[in-house]
Amino acid sequence: MLSAYLIQLADNALILGHRNSEWTGHGPVLEQDIALSNIALDLIGQSRNLYQLAASRMNTLSPEKEPVTEDDLAYLREAPDFKNVVLLEQPNGDWAKTILRQFYFSRFQLLQFRDLLNSKDADLAAIAEKSIKEIRYHVKWSSEWVCRLGDGTTESHTRMLNALEELNPLVAELFTTTDYELAAATGGWGTDPASLQPDWLQAVNATLQTATLPLYRDEKKPALLLSGKNGFHSEHLGFILAEMQFLQRAYPGCDW
């Protein structure tokens, strides 16, 4: 259960980092290209720390099996084994959608990792401590952009409205508790995401209000049948993995 929980955290970071890195070389202005690449690097760094921890826990649990590495976890699992939320595997769309996705997730991740600072698992707590500095910056950066776009020009405002419409239905999954998250919360090493929802809502709406955008309304029922956290993904993930895993799949057992 712990490894499932760690892998969920890692998958979120990897998939969003991967999506952000698709912007590298194509950003709206050089300075922001660099900024988003930095965030991609932070997230991929987080995913590596988490995969490594998951791998070491798995290897301790099953010493008889061939040891697992971070790359096995990232490159040799199938889409249904991935546990990232569906929100993060969405195509980048325009800068507005990318910004809003980052903002929603970073706001969530900040609360989640703040709780993880107190994890009973000292290694996970250490990763949280390292990551939270990065996440704070991601929150700041993305919130500022939400305001710039929401309260910028008519066009940018409209684009933000479109982004809200596309992404809002995918938010509820962040706060839907899975079995392994419940176990992690009960065991004292993880956090129940449902408990983070009120704080998230307040923080997000404060920014949306400043940005002159419509507030996020809590839809009690997830409007979505998909559940990335349980491996039930949108079709987008398959394409991400086809690209990401292609070398490892085409040339099995090689060092790179």
């Binding site: 922001q32 930095n38 500022e144």
Partner: protein, 98 residues
């Protein structure tokens, strides 16, 4: 507002303090729409390898520079003010701690 300037962000100069106790030093420049963005861009562009612990940014248009044409009248007069240096003053060798 005309089209051209509406998408062009102003130029900013970046100054970085590399270590506690040192001065901020000019590192380079970049474009940003506002001061907050300029600071963040400066962080991403000029301190990717731990080059700094503090950043100043200032819009380039607010920097006034002395002109090279006037350099002679501007700086040369300081050349002959030798009395500004401690070595100008002749004192006996036996005088210590001064």
């Amino acid at each position: 507002m005309e089209k051209i300037s509406s998408e062009n962000w102003p130029l900013w100069e970046v100054f970085i303090r590399t270590r506690q106790g040192l001065d901020h030093k000019h590192a380079g420049s970049l474009h940003a729409a506002d001061a907050q963005m300029a600071l963040e861009n400066a962080r991403d562009v000029y301190t990717r390898r731990n080059e700094g612990i503090s950043i100043w940014v200032v819009e380039s248009k607010y920097i006034h520079a002395s002109s090279p044409e006037e350099a002679a009248s501007f700086f040369d007069p300081a050349n002959d003010k030798v009395y500004r240096y401690p070595t100008f003053y002749q004192l006996p060798d036996e005088l210590k701690n001064i």
